[in-house]
């Protein structure tokens, strides 16, 4: 018997494939870089190779996990959006006699295939990029030529992670398949797909406990940090716990932020319609923005914390200015590398946003046609889509900045509070160049993300609203 297959358009999965490939490429390249660095560090002392490699692997593992995690959120989101657009087809299948779970399995199978294809593609690209980059660096004389293990068994790990994450997120994202009823295939059902903001008492309670508990721990760590260096460890834990709480409960936090930002967009008809659209599916908008929030928060945290550290060093009298300058330079390089590594997950998240906006315009074809028929000019439609994009970007980057400044300050305070023998208060120091860079990136993302959907939206003919599909 032939398996019933959902007739997905290939374009549906393009972005999932790109996201998957990006994560895989990132992971593989990082593993190779780690292997090289371990070889470099232990060039003189071959005995300690294993332990150095373990340590480096753990550090790069964290970055890979962040990237895969963000990629998984994006993929789950994309799948949920695709399912919303396929409701009619799924309903038809159900009408003919396919079970809901069979339909969902079919979607998950698509996820597995994309995971495999994406990680294979990304793995090859990442492998080659790392190889070529290192060759260039060696030829340029920047790094020594060492016989490092470029085809490590570890390379398989990130690929495996990516496949499993994509598969799992397609499963999570296809939850809505179960709520499609066969009757929806008969067509007269009005678009009532306002995503039921599922009441999830368990998840919400978990998020609240993590968030507030983590904040409490963080506050305790900061207080302890005034007297003991252990404060930092406590605060660090508190930071991780509370941020996990924030991400878990983002569907509660983000919609109000989106609304507030929407109000700032002004009172023009396009801006007001855009606000309605961005808050129409709170879950979907949340998932779209959370990846960017995570990326921006992490980058800002590192930058603010190290800036605080520097301010402290430069401010204390017993440090020589030369010393400070040296530390300054090293710290800046570290922050730069870390930012680039975390920034990669922000790029993945940005892909997710572009895709989400495109799909939502595609699924609103009829509604946009209606607006055109009732008198929305194509310029107003354009303004509306750009405003939607801006709203999501501003909300995500703004939230990430605020969280990052707070966490960065807490980190610096708990680390440095007792440094000069006595309780000191550290003011949150904001790294302005980073802030400026983020604002520029946000603006670029806003307009970049809007390009494809705008083209699609302004091409929609008003006649579409009158046709019966």
């Amino acid at each position: 018997m032939n398996r019933l297959k959902l007739t997905g358009r290939p374009a549906d999965h393009r972005s999932s494939l790109i996201v998957t490939a990006l994560s895989a490429a990132f992971g593989v390249a990082l593993v190779q870089a780690t292997s090289y660095m371990a070889t470099m560090v232990t060039a003189d002392d071959a005995g300690s190779f294993a332990s150095v490699q373990l340590m480096l692997s753990m550090v790069s593992g964290v970055f890979v996990v962040i990237a895969v995690y963000v990629g998984a959120i994006v993929t789950a989101n994309t799948f949920a959006t695709i399912i919303a657009g396929r409701t009619r087809t799924i309903a038809l299948m159900r009408l003919i006699g396919s079970t809901a779970s069979a339909q969902r399995r079919a979607v998950a199978r698509e996820g597995l295939l994309i995971g495999l294809a994406g990680s294979l593609l990304g793995g090859i690209v990442g492998f080659l990029v790392a190889l070529v980059a290192l060759r260039i660096a060696v030829l340029a004389g920047a790094v020594p030529d060492l016989p490092y293990a470029f085809a490590d068994l570890y390379l398989v790990l990130p690929l495996l992670c990516v496949v499993v994450a994509t598969w799992a997120s397609s499963w999570v994202g296809s939850r809505r398949v179960l709520s499609v009823t066969p009757i929806q295939a008969t067509g007269t059902v009005q678009e009532a797909s306002r995503e039921e903001t599922l009441k999830r008492p368990f998840r919400n309670a978990f998020a609240a406990i993590m968030f507030y508990g983590g904040l409490l721990l963080l506050a305790g760590g900061v207080a302890l940090g005034l007297f003991s260096p252990f404060g930092f460890i406590v605060a660090f834990l508190g930071g991780i716990v509370s941020f996990t709480g924030f991400v878990t409960g983002a569907h509660v936090f983000m919609p109000p932020v989106l609304r507030v930002v929407g109000r700032l967009m002004g009172n023009s008809p396009s801006a007001r319609m855009a606000t309605e659209n961005a808050t129409r599916y709170p879950e979907r908008s949340t998932r779209t923005t959370i990846g960017i929030v995570i990326g921006v928060t992490l980058i800002t945290t590192f930058a603010v914390a190290s800036e605080g550290f520097l301010a402290m060093l430069l401010g204390s009298p017993e440090n020589q200015p030369q010393d400070a300058e040296e530390v300054y330079e090293i710290l800046y390089i570290i922050v730069g590398v870390f930012s680039a590594l975390i920034g990669f997950s922000a790029i993945i998240a940005a892909f997710g946003m572009v895709n989400n906006l495109s799909l939502s315009v595609f699924q609103r074809t009829r509604e946009l046609g209606l607006l055109r028929a009732l008198g929305f000019t194509s310029r107003q439609v354009r303004a509306m889509v750009v405003a939607e994009s801006a709203q999501m970007t501003v909300a995500a980057v703004g939230t990430g900045l605020l969280l990052g400044i707070f966490y960065g300050w807490a980190g610096a305070q708990s680390l440095l509070g007792q440094l000069n023998e006595g309780p000191v208060l550290v003011w949150p120091s904001v790294p302005w160049p980073l802030l400026a860079a983020l604002v520029v990136a946000a603006a670029a993302l806003t307009f970049g993300a809007a390009q494809v959907p705008v083209r699609r939206a302004t091409r929609i003919s008003p006649v579409l609203a009158l046709s019966i599909d």
């Binding site: 007269t188 009005q190 678009e191 009532a192 306002r194 023009s268 008809p269 007001r272 319609m273 309605e276 659209n277 129409r280 009829r366 509604e367 209606l370 607006l371 055109r372 028929a373 009732l374 008198g375 929305f376 000019t377 194509s378 310029r379 107003q380 003919s461 008003p462 006649v463 609203a465 009158l466 019966i468």
Partner: protein, 253 residues
């Protein structure tokens, strides 16, 4: 153009309108040299079987589509000369729509949907307009539904919201495209009575496209289209007469 539409009592008019799709042997002619006028303050039905060109005619008259040749006017404005933005603004201010599938904006509540024409125009309704809108809401029985979302309403209620939206800005002409196509017959009759009342009581000009003889029997005047041509024009008729004519048309074809 020396022809004065207002004096002639016409709110809209098309002259020698032709619309064809495709080229060469695969060319399909949807409209073939059609010239009609819609009278001011009347409820006009445009009837015809599927593929008769009635929808295409309405799209062109409403500024949603452009003809291959010929001209169309709304009042004294020649709409076949206008660009996309001008047409859009014209639709926004001077044309109302009632669709078969209601087409309300799902994110807006009922009040928001009724105010949409003003919202799109970027202005608040004036005091007179506000009074008019609350009159409409009362007479359409929507007063206790204003804060609901479209999907919480029945089909008939949704169509009444669409009628309120179409009449809110007092457009020159309201186009109704099979407005009862998605409704049961009792609700459909209610909706048709409302449209007829809007024309009779407020002097609203309405052009309704339909293939349903019962719907057409509510109109003051009926234009019959077949194969892209106007084949007959009748005054107010009973559903039986209209059906008989339609059947005759089918048999002659």
């Amino acid at each position: 153009m020396s022809f004065n539409h207002a004096e002639a009592g016409l709110v809209a008019r098309v002259s020698h309108l032709t619309k064809s799709y495709g080229t060469g042997s695969s060319q399909v002619t949807a409209l073939d040299d059609v010239s009609i006028g819609i009278r001011q303050g009347e409820f006009t039905a445009i009837m015809g079987p599927s593929g008769s060109g009635k929808s295409t005619l309405m799209h062109i008259m409403a500024g949603l589509d452009s003809p291959t040749s010929g001209r169309a006017w709304l009042g004294d404005t020649e709409i076949t000369e206008l660009g996309d933005t001008e047409l859009t603004v014209l639709r926004r201010r001077r044309i109302g729509f009632v669709f078969q599938s209601f087409n309300l904006v799902p994110t807006l509540d009922i009040r928001g949907n009724i105010h949409l024409p003003f919202e799109l125009d970027g202005r608040m309704p004036s005091t007179t307009e506000k009074a008019w809108i609350s009159d409409l809401i009362q007479s359409l029985g929507l007063a206790d539904r204003l804060a609901h979302r479209p999907h919480e309403l029945s089909g008939g209620q949704q169509q009444r919201v669409a009628i309120a939206r179409a009449l809110a800005a007092r457009p020159d002409l309201v186009f109704a495209d099979e407005p009862t196509g998605n409704l049961d017959s009792r609700t459909g009759r209610e909706v048709l009575s409302l449209l007829a009342a809007a024309s009779r009581d407020y002097g609203q000009s309405i052009a309704m496209v339909t293939h349903d003889p019962i719907a057409a029997s509510y109109a003051d005047r009926i234009l019959f289209l077949a194969d892209g041509r106007v084949v007959e024009e009748q005054g107010k008729s009973s559903a039986e007469d209209i059906s008989r004519y339609m059947l005759g048309m089918e048999q002659n074809a």
